[in-house]
C-alpha cells in the first residue's frame, strides 16, 4: 500500500496535464437536447476551421439480427446510400410500381432457383433482370455521393458493427441544412434502390474481407468458436448463403423496426451556430415519428467450461488469436482488463512485445485488444500474433500463458502501471484533436455507457485500478478453461504441432 502511495505522487507530479479542466471545458461547450421523438443531439462548437463534422449513430448492429438474416444490418447500411422518394429518382411513382413488380419477379426467380428447374429459372431470370434494367433507367446512381461531393463533403462513409451503426461526413460550414434535410429524409423515406445489385456488391465485399484475407478468414472461424449462442459468433457481414438469400421485405422490415430517431444520437462538431442549427434540427428531424423500441432478446453466452480451439489452413504464413471471455462496461473488471491489455500489448515496452518480438525473437508483431468484437455484451480480450519463421504459433501461445502466469502471481510493477495511466490520460487528450474520433466516442458513451458526460471518467477509473485488482482479474479471466485458441496454418503445413 505504501508503494502505491509513492507511485501516486509520481503520477501527480509528472502529469500536470489539466485533464479535469479540459474535460469540464469540453462538457461546458456541448449543447445537448432531446427531440420529442427521442433523438438525442449533441452540438460542439469549434472554431478551428469553417467545417462541420456530422456523425449519426444508432444503437443497432449485427447482434440485433434474427437468425438466418446475418449481415442484414450491414446490408441496410448500404441501402441507406441509395436515396429517398425525392432524392435519386426521375419518377418515383413509376419507380414505386416497378419496385413492387420486381418483388413479384424476384419471388418467382427465387422459387425457380429452389426448384432447380432450368427452364423456369431462365424465364424468371429474364423478367427479373429486365425489370432491374428498367428501374436503373429511373434512378440516379450513387446519388448521395454525387450530392455531398459537389458541396465539398469529405470522408462520407458509414460503418456497421456488431453493436452500432454510424453514418458520417464532414462539410464546409453553412451547409448544415443540406445534411439535416437529406438525412431526416433518409430516416423517413429511404428507398432501397439497386437492392439485388447491392446484394452482389456485398458478396464481393465478403469475398474481399473474409475469404481472400487471411486474418479476416481466421477471425470469422475464431468468433464462431468463441460464441456458441451469442450473435457475436456470427460473421458480421453474414454468411454467403445468408447474403445470397437477402430479400427486400425482411431487409425493409429490419430497417423500419430499428433505425428510429429514438435509437440514435446526432453529433455535430465544428463551425456551428447552436441556436440556428438547433432550429434546423427541429425543423427536419423534429417532424419524424419514432416507433416503440423493437425489443428482441439476445441470448447470453453461457460460461465456458473448457478451452476451445479451432484451426484453419490457408495459403498464407501462420497467425494465432487467443481470446478470453470477460464482462463489459460498466463492470469494473472490464476497466481492469483494459489495463491488462495495455500492460500486455501496448507499445514496445509491453510485456508481450518485449518478450515475443524483442527478447525471444519469435514474433513479427503482436497486438492485444479488449472489447472484441463489441461492447454491448460480455466480450473477449484477444491476443493476435504473427510468428517468425521457423517459430510456430504455438510458441507464441506458450509465451502468452507464461506471461499471464506472471500477472497472476506477481503484483504489477508500479512503473508499468503509471505508464498505462499516463497513456490513458494522453489518449483522452489526443482523442479531442480528431472531430470524427471524438464524435464516435461521445456517441458511444451516450448510447451505451449511460451518457456522454461519462467520457470524462475513463482516465480516472483507469488511474484508480490497483495491482491487487489486476492480479485478481488475471486469475479470474485469463485462464486456460476460459480461453479460445484460433490458429491459421499454412496450407499443408500444420504438422500436428498443436498440443
Amino acid at each position: 500500500m505504501k508503494r502505491l502511495m509513492t507511485c501516486w505522487l509520481l503520477v501527480v507530479l509528472l502529469l500536470t496535464v489539466p485533464i479535469p479542466a479540459l474535460g469540464h471545458e469540453l462538457l461546458d461547450r456541448i449543447e445537448s437536447f432531446t427531440l420529442d421523438n427521442g433523438l438525442r443531439v449533441l452540438m460542439l462548437p469549434e472554431d478551428f476551421a469553417p467545417v462541420v463534422h456530422f456523425h449519426l449513430m444508432f444503437d443497432v448492429g449485427g447482434i440485433d439480427e434474427e437468425p438466418g438474416l446475418g449481415g442484414i444490418a450491414h446490408m441496410v447500411e448500404h441501402m441507406a446510400f441509395k436515396g429517398t422518394e425525392t432524392i435519386g429518382t426521375r419518377d418515383f411513382e413509376t419507380e414505386e410500381a416497378l419496385l413492387q413488380e420486381l418483388e413479384i419477379a424476384a419471388d418467382q426467380y427465387f422459387a425457380a432457383l429452389e426448384e432447380d428447374d432450368e427452364g423456369a429459372i431462365a424465364e424468371a431470370e429474364q423478367r427479373f433482370m429486365s425489370l432491374r434494367e428498367e428501374l436503373q433507367e429511373l434512378a440516379t446512381p450513387d446519388v448521395l455521393h454525387q450530392l455531398f461531393d459537389q458541396f465539398g463533403g469529405v470522408g462520407m462513409n458509414a460503418y456497421t458493427g456488431y453493436d452500432r451503426t454510424a453514418y458520417f461526413v464532414s462539410l464546409p460550414s453553412g451547409r448544415q441544412e443540406l445534411w439535416l434535410r437529406v438525412y431526416a429524409d433518409i430516416l423517413d423515406n429511404a428507398v432501397f434502390r439497386y437492392f439485388y445489385e447491392e446484394v452482389d456488391v456485398v458478396k464481393e465485399e465478403r469475398r474481399q474481407r473474409n475469404e481472400d484475407e487471411p486474418t479476416g478468414y481466421l477471425r470469422e472461424h475464431f468468433l464462431r468458436e468463441a460464441f456458441e449462442v451469442h450473435p457475436y459468433g456470427r460473421p458480421l457481414i453474414g454468411s454467403m448463403e445468408e447474403i445470397s438469400n437477402y430479400r427486400y421485405g425482411p431487409a425493409r422490415e429490419f430497417w423500419d423496426q430499428h433505425y428510429q430517431p429514438n435509437r440514435a444520437v446526432l453529433i455535430m462538431i465544428g463551425d456551428i451556430d447552436p441556436e440556428a442549427d438547433r432550429a434546423l434540427v427541429e425543423k427536419y428531424f423534429g417532424v419524424l415519428e419514432s416507433e416503440p423500441r423493437h425489443e428482441r432478446p439476445i441470448p447470453a453466452e453461457p460460461p465456458q467450461q473448457e478451452q476451445r480451439r479451432v484451426t484453419v489452413e490457408y495459403e498464407a504464413e501462420p497467425e494465432i488469436m487467443v481470446g478470453f471471455h470477460k464482462p463489459t462496461y460498466p463492470h469494473r473488471d472490464a476497466y481492469v482488463l483494459d489495463v491488462i491489455r495495455s500492460l500486455l500489448g501496448t507499445g514496445r515496452t509491453s510485456r508481450l512485445h518485449a518478450r515475443m518480438v524483442i527478447e525471444e525473437e519469435k514474433a513479427l508483431a503482436i497486438s492485444v485488444s479488449s472489447s472484441f468484437p463489441g461492447l454491448r455484451d460480455p466480450n473477449l480480450l484477444v491476443f493476435h500474433g504473427r510468428s517468425r519463421h521457423p517459430h510456430k504459433p504455438e510458441d507464441l501461445k506458450q509465451l502468452l500463458f507464461e506471461e499471464i502466469a506472471k500477472l497472476q502471481q506477481e503484483p504489477v510493477d508500479p512503473w508499468e502501471l503509471e505508464k498505462v495511466v499516463n497513456q490513458a490520460q494522453a489518449s483522452f487528450i489526443r482523442n479531442l484533436a480528431s472531430p470524427s474520433g471524438l464524435a464516435g466516442q461521445l456517441a458511444t458513451y451516450e448510447l451505451f455507457l449511460d451518457g456522454y458526460e461519462n467520457i470524462l471518467d475513463y482516465p480516472d477509473i483507469i488511474a484508480s485500478i490497483t495491482p491487487e485488482e489486476i492480479q485478481e482479474a488475471a486469475n479470474a479471466y485469463l485462464t486456460k478453461e476460459n480461453s479460445v485458441v484460433g490458429i491459421l496454418y499454412t496450407q499443408g503445413d500444420h504438422g500436428g504441432a498443436e498440443q
Binding site: V17, E85, I87, P141, D142, R181
Partner: protein, 473 residues
C-alpha cells in the same frame, strides 16, 4: 410447402408496401441539389518558416487548443538512393535509428522513456524520403525532442536490435504475398516502373546482404540537417520552439548534399498483360501506365479527369462496375503525383473472378471513352465545385497544414502551386480535358496485371494482349 409459402410472402410484401406512408414530409422540403450556400470564407494560416544555420528548415504552426505538440521530419534518405544489391537499406536504417538506441541511451531506455511519457517517435522510409514523426504532451516536449534529436543525429545502431529489425523485415518479405491486394499493387508498380529505383522491392537476398557498415554509411551520407525539413505544430510559441530546436539540432553539422542522379524513367513500359495465378475467390485487376510529373499543368487536368473516371465519391467506374452490375466492392482509379519522375495513372478493381475479362473490358472501355468523348458539362461542373468547396478543409488541422508546408518546401514545389492549381480548375473546359486525356491516357498501351485463378475466368486474357505469367518468389 413452397406452394403455400410463396403467396404468404407475397401477402407480407403487399402489406409492407401498403403500410408505407402515402405522404412524406420531404415533399415540402427543398430540393437538395438546388440548395444554394454562401461560399465559405477560408482564412489561410501559414506556419512560420525558420532555417537554422546548419540548413535544417522548420515550419512551425501554433495551435493552443490542446496541450499537445506534434511534428514530422522529412529526410532525403529514401529508398531511391540505396544500391541495387542492398535494397531495403533505407528502410532498415530508418527503423533501426528508432529502435537501436540513441546517443547514450540503450534501445530499452529510449522505449521506456518515450512510453512512460505517453509520447511517440516513429520512423519509416518510402522511395523518395524517410520520415520521423513525433507526438508529445506539451509539458514534456523537451525530453521528447532530446530523444528525437539523438535518434536522428546519434543513432547507436545496436547490433542485436539490427538483427531483430532485419529478422522482422525478412518475415514481412516471407508474408508479402499473403494479402492479394498488397501483392497486386507491388507487382503492378514493379512492372510499370521497371528499370527505375521506384519499381524495386527488397528480397531475402538484398535484405540479408546489408551489413552494419552499410547502415552507418547510409546514415552518414543522407541524415544531415541540411537534408531535413521539419514540421511542428501545437501548443507552443513559434519563436521559442525554433530556439529549442536550435538547442537540440543546432550543433549538428551540415554537409554538402551530393544528390545521387536517378536513372531515367521509362515512360513507355511494354503493354503486357501480366497474370499471377492464385486460387482466390476474386480477381484483382490493375490497368495503367506512367503519366506526368506534378509540375506539369496537365497533372491538374488529369486529376479532374481521374475524379470523373474513378476518383470522386461518384464516378464512372464505380457506377458501371459496382453500382449497376454488382461485380465489385472496391473499384476506382488514381493518378499519383510524380516528383522527380512521372506519377502513375491506374484503374483498379477487386472483383468477381468469373467476370474477370468482362470487368477488364469495362475498365478499358471507360478509359477509352474518356479519351474519345468529351466529359459532360455537368460532370465537369460537379467536380469543379467539389474541388473549390473542399478548400474549406485546407486549414482544418494545424498538423496537416504544418506537414503540408514542410513537404511542399522539401519537394521543391512552388509555394504558389495551389493558387495556380485553383486558377486552372476555375477556367477548365471540357475541350481542355479531352485534349489532356488524348495526350496522356493510353488505354491500348497500358500495363495490365491480373491476380486470380484463370480456371475461373470468363474469357482468356490473351484477348487483351500478350500474356506473361508472373512467378512469385
Amino acid at each position: 410447402m413452397k406452394q403455400t409459402f410463396l403467396p404468404l410472402l407475397l401477402l407480407a410484401l403487399m402489406l409492407a408496401w401498403a403500410s408505407s406512408p402515402a405522404l412524406t414530409h420531404a415533399e415540402d422540403w427543398p430540393d437538395p441539389f438546388a440548395m444554394e450556400f454562401e461560399p465559405v470564407e477560408v482564412t489561410p494560416v501559414e506556419p512560420v518558416s525558420v532555417t537554422l544555420d546548419n540548413g535544417m528548415t522548420l515550419f512551425l504552426l501554433e495551435d493552443r487548443s490542446l496541450p499537445l505538440i506534434e511534428g514530422t521530419a522529412y529526410i532525403r534518405a529514401g529508398a531511391n538512393h540505396e544500391p541495387e544489391e542492398r535494397i531495403g537499406l533505407a528502410q532498415l536504417t530508418a527503423l533501426l535509428s528508432r529502435d537501436g538506441g540513441a546517443g547514450d541511451r540503450s534501445p530499452e531506455e529510449v522505449d521506456r522513456q518515450l512510453e512512460y511519457l505517453a509520447a511517440s517517435v516513429e520512423m519509416s522510409a518510402s522511395e523518395p524520403f524517410a520520415t520521423a514523426g513525433f507526438s508529445s504532451l506539451e509539458h514534456n516536449v523537451d525530453e521528447v525532442l532530446e530523444v528525437l534529436a539523438d535518434i536522428l543525429r546519434r543513432p547507436a545502431f545496436d547490433a542485436r536490435r539490427m538483427e531483430i529489425a532485419r529478422g522482422r523485415l525478412l518475415e514481412s518479405i516471407r508474408r508479402r504475398n499473403d494479402q492479394p491486394l498488397q501483392l497486386a499493387v507491388r507487382e503492378f508498380i514493379a512492372r510499370v516502373s521497371e528499370g527505375h529505383p521506384s519499381g524495386r522491392y527488397s528480397s531475402i537476398e538484398t535484405m540479408s546482404a546489408i551489413e552494419a557498415a552499410d547502415i552507418r554509411e547510409f546514415h552518414e551520407r543522407f541524415y544531415r540537417p541540411n537534408n531535413i525539413v521539419m514540421a511542428l505544430s501545437g501548443d507552443f510559441n513559434a519563436e521559442e520552439m525554433a530556439d529549442r530546436i536550435e538547442e537540440y539540432f543546432g550543433c549538428w553539422e551540415a554537409r554538402p548534399w551530393d544528390a545521387p542522379e536517378l536513372p531515367p524513367f521509362d515512360e513507355f513500359p511494354e503493354p503486357v498483360v501480366y497474370h499471377v495465378q492464385r486460387d482466390l475467390a476474386q480477381s484483382i485487376i490493375f490497368v495503367g501506365h506512367p503519366a506526368v510529373t506534378f509540375d506539369d499543368p496537365d497533372y491538374i487536368r488529369l486529376d479532374v479527369l481521374n475524379r470523373i473516371l474513378g476518383g470522386a465519391g461518384d464516378n464512372r467506374l464505380f457506377e458501371e462496375v459496382r453500382t449497376r452490375r454488382g461485380y465489385a466492392y472496391a473499384v476506382g482509379s488514381q493518378v499519383t503525383q510524380g516528383f522527380e519522375y512521372p506519377g502513375i495513372f491506374f484503374a483498379y478493381s477487386v472483383s468477381r473472378v468469373d467476370k474477370t475479362a468482362e470487368v477488364l473490358e469495362l475498365m478499358r472501355r471507360e478509359i477509352k471513352q474518356i479519351v474519345q468523348e468529351p466529359v459532360s458539362e455537368a460532370e465537369l461542373d460537379r467536380n469543379r465545385r467539389a474541388i473549390v468547396n473542399r478548400a474549406a478543409f485546407r486549414y482544418a488541422s494545424a498538423k496537416a497544414v504544418a506537414d503540408r508546408s514542410a513537404l511542399v518546401n522539401f519537394l521543391g514545389v512552388d509555394p504558389d502551386y495551389y493558387a495556380r492549381h485553383m486558377e486552372i480548375i476555375e477556367g477548365l473546359t471540357i475541350d481542355e480535358l479531352l485534349d489532356t486525356a488524348k495526350k496522356h491516357l493510353r488505354p491500348e498501351d497500358a500495363v495490365i496485371l491480373v491476380v486470380g485463378n484463370e480456371e475461373l475466368f470468363d474469357r482468356d486474357l490473351t484477348e487483351f494482349g500478350p500474356v506473361e505469367a508472373v512467378e512469385l518468389d
